[in-house]
Symmetry: C2
Subunit: 390 residues, 2 copies
């Protein structure tokens, strides 16, 4: 299907790296890339109203079909008029198919070519889901970008990962066959674990089917960071330049900078909002923990020249106090700060790409921003709560 | 001390009831009465930013010296520039002295004429506080209205309540002696339990000392509601007409209507915000619980003609879903609704008093608004977590 306005327009590619700047056109607005999508798994970006999300300059968010299928149920949202209306969000939206959650959150019962039998992580109830059903669910939810169902195991042997990849390919074709709505863009998901040969096979096979966008799944599941980005580089090298590339489930400040350098356009992660609720705030020098005693009497804001509502209005001492008392406002203030930080970072990255100065930007960022080993470990710990292999 | 603008101006008294309309003048703005003060015990009205509080049309809030003394400590707030600056609130503010919390929340060690020895409810640390210290603390915090330290036992015998009352009177005098700042108004607190004779003695003694405002303390601690309001009526009858009257710790919709009818000008209570976080929303027909299955698929808002952000933007089904998932946004949305409801109720009450139609307004409200026995019980249960007698 050809359209007058293409889904993705590539504005610029960095001559010295693989960084790209572009834009997505969706029924709910234009989205400049590279872009970070905050995660609203249950139909809410935790603590924020839709007006606040928009006020942060965020044009696109992510929601999870798995969570919404279990609660409140797809039918409830459909009857209210779709997920945009249900949660009051007027901007662009992407829904994950649930593949990742089925393999990380639910209790798996049986994976077959037909689909996935699983138990809800909430009440243990048993459910069976097919690739076709995940498309129907996502059509009812009504996001602008929807995802194929993928088999998404944690690290496994070459044979295990090959089997999962092959199944993911078949499911991708079935998802495309099942698609009825033409206003939603269905992205495929490249799998293959940490095996370059599998990543190559997966990228080549899926691109031969010509999807409107390609995601890279199954990374940051415990493998060393160098391996993660080497897989990203292997994969993006084989993806068509004129289609958007989405690195699933990664979105720390250090990861988006490196991901862009490897040719990624779209990121999502619960990390910025989750660590915020634990009192970890992004600063240009790295993450700091507001619970540290050093902040107990600090009259200045956490990042003095930050322009977010939190830093403009409150001392570090006040934030420290609110976290110390487990006050709900603390989680909101920290969420606003971290999402403001990462949204501004994406804007700066894009400006650098457009100006042809991204390599210098990346060098400067990486020289200043110190992600400690402990933080990297925590990132991963929360990403994969139960170690699960096929 | 005479001033050009009096602290309290009585605009109108209802000819058929004791209801009054007036206004308070404070260094942080004018406050129309009757007024309900949301509670921000720890320097935050739970879930709300200062901008949101103001946006609800709220002109005055309450904070608790006891909580702030323990965390983050009075000195921290003083060094940042006072409580207004610390929490970013530019409107009027009242601080409680801590009397109520010492007797309801802390572990009491010894009450003497000199002061109160207690253990922190947070870490068990031992502290000694005198009436003079509570004034110094409140001067450091910098609220517009501050309170005397009172001995505030739960229901006790006549002899016990008389002893507590007498001590409260002595402490009131000492608090006034200790006052250094002249820009803060120090209110006295009438005690006397459920004994009309004690209430009379307390009101007469304290008014003879000529405070700029009078509070009624020690009520709604388990006694029947009729007794509560009979004590209020006994007391307000003896208070000077030209001074504001503050009913401490009461502020359900049904209580503010009845309190105004008995001549009260100022209310505070954590109830509207606390029950909101438990999913209980105010409606013109009474409180409803959004967790009820009846709301699971309701496309309309909880109160369809309500003008609050929550009801303007979200279905009851969405609120039900957020509460069902324990999503943080739920607590904010419900808080906004309940504070909007009670703030609008206070405005309507005031308009009725000014228009001379308050008795009809009260009749209509009471005919529609059904507070169930269970709700009344819950109101009291949370007010006095540990049954405590002298």
């Amino acid at each position: 299907m050809k359209e007058s306005v293409p889904h993705f327009y590539l504005s610029k590619t960095c001559p010295q790296s693989k960084a790209r700047a572009g834009e997505l056109s969706t029924p709910h607005g234009r989205v400049l890339t590279p872009v970070f999508l905050p995660v609203g798994s249950q139909g809410t970006v935790k603590t924020l109203t839709p007006a606040e999300i928009k006020g942060l300059g965020i044009a696109m968010i992510l929601a999870n079909t798995y969570h919404l299928y279990l609660r409140p149920g797809i039918k409830v949202i459909e009857q209210i008029g779709g997920l945009h209306k249900f949660m009051g969000w007027e901007g662009a939206m992407l829904t994950d198919s649930g593949g990742y959650q089925l393999f990380s959150l639910a209790s798996l019962r049986r994976v077959s070519d037909e689909g996935v039998l699983f138990r809800s992580h909430i009440d243990g109830s048993e459910h069976f889901i097919t690739p076709e059903m995940t498309v129907q669910f996502q059509e009812s939810l009504g996001a602008d970008v929807i995802m194929v169902l993928d088999e998404c195991p944690a690290l496994g042997s070459l044979a295990q990962m090959q089997s999962a990849m092959t199944r993911t390919h078949h499911w991708a074709e079935r998802c495309r066959q099942a698609q009825r709505r033409r206003d939603q863009k269905l992205y495929a998901i490249v799998q293959g674990g940490v095996f370059p040969e599998l990543r190559r096979q997966s990228a080549e096979y899926l691109t031969s089917l010509d999807f409107p966008g390609y995601a890279i799944g199954g990374l940051s599941l415990g493998e060393p960071k160098e391996v993660t980005f080497s897989m990203v580089a292997e994969t993006t090298a084989l993806l068509p330049a004129d289609k958007p590339r989405y690195l699933m489930g990664m979105g720390s400040p250090e990861d988006v900078v490196e991901g862009v350098a490897q040719g990624i356009d779209i990121f999502d992660s619960a990390l910025p909002t989750r660590v915020a609720r634990n009192g970890a705030l992004f600063t240009p020098a790295g993450r700091v923990n507001i619970g540290n005693a050093a902040y107990a009497r600090m009259a200045q804001s956490v990042v003095p020249d930050c322009n977010c509502y939190t830093c403009r209005n409150f001392s570090a001492a006040y934030l420290h106090h609110l976290f110390n008392c487990s006050e709900l406002l603390a989680y909101w203030l920290a969420t606003i700060h971290n999402l403001s930080f990462i949204t501004n970072l994406m804007r700066e990255i894009r400006e650098a790409v457009m100006a042809g100065t991204f390599p210098a930007f990346r060098d400067k960022f990486q020289a200043n921003y110190q992600a400690t080993d402990e933080q990297v470990r925590l990132n991963q710990k929360n990403k994969w709560p139960k170690s699960r292999r096929l």
